[in-house]
């Protein structure tokens, strides 16, 4: 369970203080599917980074599974990121000089898993995203959708509790995007928490819950299906 209590993230830019996040209170249950929406600069990515322990809040309390993470040191945070959180990025972030297998293997390497054990797990993870045939391909030899699926295999190989996806379909055409979303939702169906940042309503409305940010605050929370109603209402005007 993710509990955010009065989370602030401020940046000092010369004389001005910028509030990327200005008091977020939010609880996300295990296994939830949440979409975070909002215009650029509304703090979506900052929020995702804080949930993903890549960034620390300037103020406020973040409890992950009941444990306040604010006091943890860098190594402890790294361990939680490694085992508990899977990241999916808009631009895939694959390492070009490694093939698909090598990229998916990275979390296992960082976690110190024995080489013998790694091989089977990597094959299984690639199999799960339908890319077992492409294990030897470099990222440049794969399509955008395939790259993102490699990234999903990488994000899920250590069986995290949470998947954080920052615009996972932002660079993809609609059919590849659909595949990627279906994959992510499949993992969620097996009990993972799925948190997406998107500004595509078509992506957001598939979520159980949508959180809309503006200027670092939550301005609206609604079930995903209501977003559909809202869209329709807007379209009907």
């Amino acid at each position: 369970m993710i509990e955010l209590e009065d989370i602030w993230r401020t940046y000092q830019l010369g004389d001005t203080t910028l509030h990327a996040l200005a008091g977020i209170d939010e609880t996300i249950q295990d296994g939830e599917h949440v979409a975070i929406m909002g215009p650029s600069g509304s703090g979506k990515s900052t929020l995702l980074n804080i949930i993903g322990l890549l960034d620390r809040p300037t103020r406020g309390t973040y409890r992950l599974d009941g444990r306040a993470v604010g006091g943890l040191d860098d190594d402890a945070l790294a361990a939680i990121r490694r085992r508990g959180i899977g990241y999916v990025f808009q631009s895939y972030h694959l390492i070009e000089r490694l093939d698909a297998r090598g990229n998916v293997e990275l979390p296992l390497i960082l976690d110190g898993v024995a080489p013998r054990e790694r091989r089977g797990r990597v094959e299984a993870a690639l199999e799960a995203v339908g890319l077992a045939e492409r294990a030897d391909h470099r990222p440049s030899e794969l399509s955008g959708g395939q790259r993102q699926r490699v990234a999903i295999a990488r994000a899920t190989i250590l069986n995290p509790r949470v998947i954080l996806a920052d615009e996972p379909t932002g660079n993809l055409d609609s059919s590849s995007g659909e595949q990627v979303l279906a994959l992510l939702e499949g993992f969620r169906a097996r009990g993972l928490t799925l948190i997406l940042v998107t500004h595509d309503p078509a992506v957001a409305r598939r979520a159980e819950r949508v959180i809309i940010l503006r200027d670092g605050r939550v301005v609206r929370r609604m079930p995903g299906r209501e977003l559909q109603d809202l869209e329709r209402a807007l379209a009907g005007e």
Binding site: L54, R82, I95, I109
Partner: protein, 400 residues
């Protein structure tokens, strides 16, 4: 994270930039090659020089005129300065423990026979010289033993001088002119080679008194003294020193140099040589280190996104740091290995084509060069690796 995995990950990025990797490996390799070559030359020179000095044996010391060890002018307070004389040498023979005493003078003179003449180094010595200077006579005999004043008109020729003047003819018994005086050739020496830089074969040996007269000298150049080892260097030198002081109106206007002191002075000279060699090597290595530093600095800049990704995947800062340190160390280690091989190879080739070259390769030096290269890599990698570890993952992920 396993070491082999870190290595593999690091190697994959080095492979991705082959040319750059090769160049930075070369930058270290050249440094290590020069270090290996320089140290082998330094070590060779050291052994050569030490060998030259220790061939006299260790139970020996020499006395030269003048005081070089302490400041002060002789005779300032009205005391007479006594010259180091033949009588001094004879007196030393009576000191307990002394075995042989060799008074000597040295000069340049023209030696003539028939129509031929040759300018050579002339030593005025006694019959003790062959034993002390490790020389032997090939034809005839050396100067007769006994009173240094006798045997006035005799000369012994070095092997080369004899060959130049007489060719294949026997020289013993002939009369030669040395600095205008007619002297009978008593013997010809066996070839000896160089001794402390002097060609001992292109020489003539005269009785010391004759040489002093010819060169118009009233002082010895040096007195070499050997002593019986069981008496001890300290006791003998002190006894000789006391005797000479007494003979010289209680003035220490001479210098007594023991073998230990000679080796000490030599050692400090050779230390300076080693230091200079080390300095040049260090300079070459520094260039290599700067090469690696630059390469790693660029690599960290280029791989900022990758570093951000690894952090997001749960890499600890210490893992990022060791990843880059390992890369730098590997580069330098590979350079070190390559450089050592090249250095040893060049030294072997050099020895083959220039046989006299004093080259001495020691496993210790090669090993040290390798260790130093690895340390250089570590040192060069610390900055870039630290920078990589300190990157803010959020900013790193966003970089292009």
């Amino acid at each position: 994270m396993r070491f082999t995995d870190s290595l593999r990950l690091g190697l994959s990025s080095l492979r991705a930039h082959r040319l750059r990797t090769l160049l930075s490996v070369l930058s270290i390799a050249i440094g290590i090659t020069s270090v290996v070559l320089l140290t082998s030359i330094g070590e060779g020179a050291r052994l050569y020089v030490l060998g030259q000095f220790t061939q006299f044996g260790s139970n020996m010391f020499e006395i030269v005129p003048g005081k070089v060890e302490t400041a002060g002018l002789p005779g300032v307070f009205g005391g007479t300065t006594r010259k180091l004389s033949l009588a001094d040498a004879q007196a030393i023979e009576g000191v307990n423990g002394v075995e042989t005493v060799l008074p000597s003078v040295m000069g340049q003179a023209r030696v003539e026979y028939g129509g031929l003449g040759r300018s050579v180094t002339v030593f005025g010595v006694t019959s003790a010289a062959p034993a002390l200077w490790r020389m032997s006579v090939r034809h005839g005999s050396f100067l007769p033993p006994g009173d240094a004043q006798r045997g006035r008109h005799a000369v012994v020729l070095g092997s080369r001088l004899a060959r130049e003047l007489f060719g294949a003819e026997p020289a013993v018994g002939r009369l030669v002119r040395v600095a205008g005086a007619r002297l009978r050739v008593l013997g010809v020496m066996a070839p000896r080679g160089r001794l402390l830089g002097f060609d001992m074969d292109d020489t003539a040996f005269l009785p010391v008194s004759t040489a002093m007269q010819l060169f118009n000298l009233d002082e010895l150049t040096e007195i070499d003294v050997t002593f019986r080892p069981e008496v001890g260097a300290r006791r003998t030198t002190e006894a000789v020193r006391a005797l000479l002081r007494a003979r010289h109106d209680d003035n220490e206007d001479f210098t007594l140099i023991t073998q230990d002191q000679m080796l000490g002075v030599l050692g400090s000279v050779l230390d300076v040589v080693s230091l200079a060699v080390g300095g040049i090597g260090a300079g070459a290595l520094l260039v290599g280190a700067v090469g690696i530093l630059t390469m790693m600095w660029i690599a960290v800049g280029e791989r900022t996104r990758e570093i951000g990704l690894l952090r997001a995947l749960g890499a600890r800062t210490s893992q990022i740091r060791s990843l880059f340190l390992l890369e730098a160390t590997f580069l330098a280690g590979a350079g070190g290995a390559l450089g050592s091989l090249a250095g040893v190879g060049l030294a072997l080739i050099g020895r083959r084509f220039v046989p006299g070259l004093p080259l001495r390769i020691t496993a210790l030096h090669v090993g040290l060069a390798l260790v130093v290269s690895v340390l250089t890599g570590l040192a060069a990698g610390v900055g870039p690796a630290g920078r990589a570890a300190k990157l803010d993952p959020v900013i790193a992920l966003r970089s292009e």
